[in-house]
């Protein structure tokens, strides 16, 4: 049901763009104003979320460790799963963010012949990597629309992405792979009863929205063959703050752009903020060094004291003396 709501929502967005930019000819709104608003909301929203998190202190150092601590010389220390220095912690974070290391550990549980069995389950890891890296490549490729001349590195990414040299225009692998990745993530949510049970509208919506963006982009490039020169005029106009809506921009493009704008606006208010939050997760971004170095808690309350020894002895002095235990005051 939640998946259906999300699908309807994405269709509604497509219809809005089709009608607004197509039938109603509000190209100025869809081609200029909305993109500016979306980018502003994204930037301000993203920054304010990060600042909001950063404002709360980290009172205690609570890393989750994944290997042997640093202790005696003859015991091998697991540096990157149980880091003690900032450098080791940095590498742990790089592995986490670039390689999804924790997800790599994933196993799945089954009950077989009276036993609990654990099998390796790296599918989620593999397909999430596929999705995220395809997305990254696509974003980098799109940067050619915002630069004149196009930087060499962007051209290089495009070259690699299209290295298979299939078809005209040349097929970008990332276009296919992102759909494969998204398809897996969506299929997994729909197929696995446990996941279906926990999935909210806000889980399906971004997946379907990004699928919509990818499909409209693919349609534009491989089927509708839109006027890329006109598009570049539009995007360069946006970048140089002198927006124009050139002739010949297809309505498919406005649909694509509107969905992207929706994604940008939606991003800071949603779970998509995991992109920023992963950097701030105290269980991963801290070294396991609290026995080595002092960690400060800004709100540590100095007035909290233990039940004092003096009170304790007052309670038990007589029996303590009787038992021959040393006391501070004889009576």
């Amino acid at each position: 049901m939640n998946a259906l709501y999300s699908l309807v929502l994405v269709f509604a967005l497509v219809l809005i763009a089709l009608f607004g930019a197509g039938a109603a000819h509000m190209t100025g709104l869809f081609g200029t104003l909305l993109p500016y608003v979306a980018i502003a909301v994204f930037l301000v929203g993203f920054a304010s979320r990060i600042i909001g998190w950063a404002k709360s202190p980290v009172p205690f150092s609570i890393p989750t460790t994944g290997g042997q601590q640093k202790s005696l010389d003859f015991i091998k220390h697991d540096r990157f799963d149980n880091p003690v220095t900032p450098g080791q912690t940095f590498i742990r974070m790089v592995l986490e963010i670039c390689c999804f290391r924790s997800l790599f550990r994933n196993t799945s549980v089954a009950l077989k012949d009276g036993r609990v069995t654990y099998s390796s389950a790296k599918w989620l890891w593999g397909f999430s990597l596929l999705f995220h890296y395809s997305f990254l490549l696509i974003v980098i490729r799109h940067m050619r629309l915002f630069f004149e001349p196009v930087p060499v590195c962007i051209g290089f990414v495009e070259m690699i992405d299209g290295i298979m040299q299939i078809g005209v225009p040349r097929l970008y692998m990332s276009d296919l792979l992102i759909l494969v990745g998204l398809g897996f993530l969506l299929g997994r949510r729909l197929r696995d009863p446990k996941l279906r049970y926990i999935s909210l509208v806000t889980d399906y919506f971004p997946l379907l929205l990004i699928i919509g963006i990818a499909l409209s982009g693919i349609y534009m490039r491989y089927f509708a063959h839109v006027d890329i020169i006109a598009l570049k005029k539009l995007t360069m106009g946006l970048v140089t703050l002198s927006p124009v809506i050139p002739e010949g921009v297809s309505v498919v493009f406005f649909v694509h752009l509107f969905l992207v704008c929706t994604l940008l606006v939606y991003f800071p208010f949603s779970k998509l903020m995991h992109a920023g939050g992963v950097f701030l997760s105290p269980t991963r971004n801290m070294p396991n060094d609290t026995r080595i170095k002092h960690h400060e808690n800004p709100w540590n309350d100095p007035s909290i004291k233990p039940h004092s020894y003096a009170d304790y002895e007052d309670d038990f002095r007589e029996p303590m003396i009787e038992a021959g235990l040393p006391v501070e005051k004889e009576s």
Partner: protein, 535 residues
């Protein structure tokens, strides 16, 4: 206990298919057996916790304070401002489900609300409603809901079906730690007087008498004397155990379970024999006679208050550093909280083994060393006279306690110690040990009999791994470095892998140690005949 199903029946009853109703529409079951007994009013009064009263979770009316919703809301707000962890964990979960089948309570029950993601959603749904714009406007679409009495009851049931073992956190791509979420939820429940006696009574005892069990100082001394007698009977050697004495080099603090409960007492005897063997200049304390800190399961303030005794007593007695015994959550508190809450303890010195000269650089700040670090170092330097053959009747495996394993990474030290004193050692399957270890299902204050079925369900993954090595390798002993484990693994092993016993690592050390001037031993520390001495 009486209506506990047989192990194979319980196993067959597990079903991972979620119910047909959505989780928000599935009512919480508050029938007896699903909860631990509530805290006694007198314990709350003594500790100054809010809303002390007699109440019963099976009743409809939980006698909450009039303005309990405001109390929860304000408490929530305060904690979002104080803990970045809570704020980030409320916001960034993508519900990928990687944690779903990592929780021992889920594996053993199939109850979807035991999936860590959903356990946290019980709290996130309220967070969204109260603290996010989208949640305020688009209620159900964003998975948000109003905090009602039913929601509070659901929190009570499920946040006391989480042992804060953090296994899910290990697998989470963002490191979301359900233990943090559970701790916060429990703090909020405490604000309304919704808490359990099996946590509050130990907290209250610990505050007054120094330990969970309420052992008073003279009784503590009696118990130690009994153990000294037993050691004399077994080894023929009378050893001296200083208590509350000033002017020693080291104070030794261990969980009180080791002093009081079988089989912890054998581990305690092992410590005492070790200290005698190496001539360690140490003292015990009755005031700080508890390493375990049930404050951790209550509130940050209570944890600090109880933990503070360790440093206070170390200072009063004038020792140089602290040696800590085998305990799970005690070491989580020491590793992650102690110095921050109650340090820096500059009146102490960086721990240095008086026997080997090793400086424990990894304890430079807290000044507190784990006994297996200390013993492993002694063994590496050949300072112990050992006869591992005295453990030949023992075929052991090792249970990594969740807290040291995932908060510290204390894994190879105990294994090193075990391998020096036992010939027959076998690891359980790799998905169930080291950082992936499974909880005993009685941690975080849930070691109580009224929820025995829940505990046995949660204990399935551990019990099952144990059964595997029992069947394949003939394992008859499960060693561990946690006093709660020593209490909870006993019924667990009895249920899932009958025939396996439980011991601490230093019990095995005690068996193997050759004390100077001892007689030829006929029995192990449990007074069972040694191999070859049965006749």
């Amino acid at each position: 206990m009486a209506d506990l199903p047989k192990a194979n029946e319980l196993f067959k009853s597990i079903n991972y298919t979620p119910p047909s109703t959505g989780w928000m529409d599935t009512p919480v079951d508050t029938s007896p057996g699903n909860w631990c007994y509530p805290a006694k009013a007198e314990k709350l009064e003594y500790l100054g916790f809010p809303n002390p009263r007699e109440w019963n979770p099976a009743d409809v009316d939980w006698k909450l304070p009039e303005n309990w919703q405001d109390i929860v809301h304000e408490g929530f707000k305060e904690r979002l401002g104080k803990y970045r962890s809570l704020k980030v964990f409320m916001d960034i979960c993508v519900r990928c489900g990687a944690c779903a089948d990592k929780c021992h309570f889920f594996i053993g029950s199939g109850d979807p609300k035991n999936m860590p993601v959903l356990r946290a959603e019980l709290m996130r749904s309220v967070y969204r409603k109260d603290f996010t714009m989208a949640g305020k406007i688009l209620s159900t679409l964003t998975g948000s809901r109003v905090m009602t009495e039913d929601v509070l009851k659901e929190w009570f049931i499920y946040f006391y079906q989480c042992t804060e073992c953090r296994r899910c956190s290990l697998f989470c791509p963002y490191g979301i730690d359900t233990a943090e979420v559970t701790m916060m939820a429990r703090e909020l429940l405490h604000l309304c007087g919704v808490n359990i006696n099996w946590i509050l009574e130990p907290v209250s005892n610990c505050n007054r008498t120094g330990n969970h069990l309420g052992i008073q100082p003279h009784a503590f001394k009696d118990i130690v004397d009994f153990m000294v007698d037993d050691i004399e009977e077994i080894t023929g050697k009378r050893i001296n155990v200083p208590i509350n004495e000033k002017g020693h080099e080291v104070i030794f603090i261990t969980p009180s379970g080791d002093v009081f409960a079988d089989p912890g007492i054998y581990t305690f005897m092992g410590y005492l024999m070790l200290f005698d063997h190496i001539g360690l200049d140490y003292t015990l304390s009755t005031y700080a006679s508890e390493g375990g800190n049930f404050g951790l399961f209550t509130s940050a303030d209570m944890m600090k208050k109880l933990n503070a005794k360790m440093y206070a007593e170390a200072e009063r007695l004038g020792v140089k550093w602290i040696l800590g015994g085998e305990c799970g959550h005690m070491w989580r508190v020491i590793n992650q909280y102690m110095d921050t809450m109650n340090g820096p303890a500059n009146f102490l010195e960086v721990p240095k083994s008086p026997i080997t000269g090793t400086v424990f650089e990894n304890a430079r700040q807290t000044k507190m060393v784990h006994i297996t670090e200390f013993t492993a170092d002694l063994m590496k330097h050949n300072k112990l006279k050992l006869d591992p053959s005295r453990n030949d009747h023992i075929i052991t495996t090792f249970h990594d306690s969740c807290n040291p394993a995932r908060a510290m990474g204390l894994m190879d030290e105990p294994r090193y110690v075990i391998k020096n004193v036992v010939k027959n050692f076998h690891e359980m399957p790799e998905q169930t040990i080291r950082e992936q270890t499974f909880c005993c299902a009685g941690g975080s204050g849930l070691n109580t009999d009224e929820i025995m079925e829940i505990r046995m369900r949660g204990g399935l993954p551990r019990g099952n791994a144990l059964k595997t090595v029992q069947d394949e390798n003939g394992v008859n002993m499960l060693s561990c470095i946690c006093a709660i484990d020593r209490a909870t693994l006993l019924p667990l092993a009895n249920y899932w892998a009958p025939g396996v016993d439980v011991c601490g690592v230093h019990e095995l050390v005690g068996n193997a140690l050759i004390l100077d001037g001892e007689k030829e031993r006929e029995t192990d520390l449990r007074m069972n005949p040694l191999p070859g001495k049965e006749g």
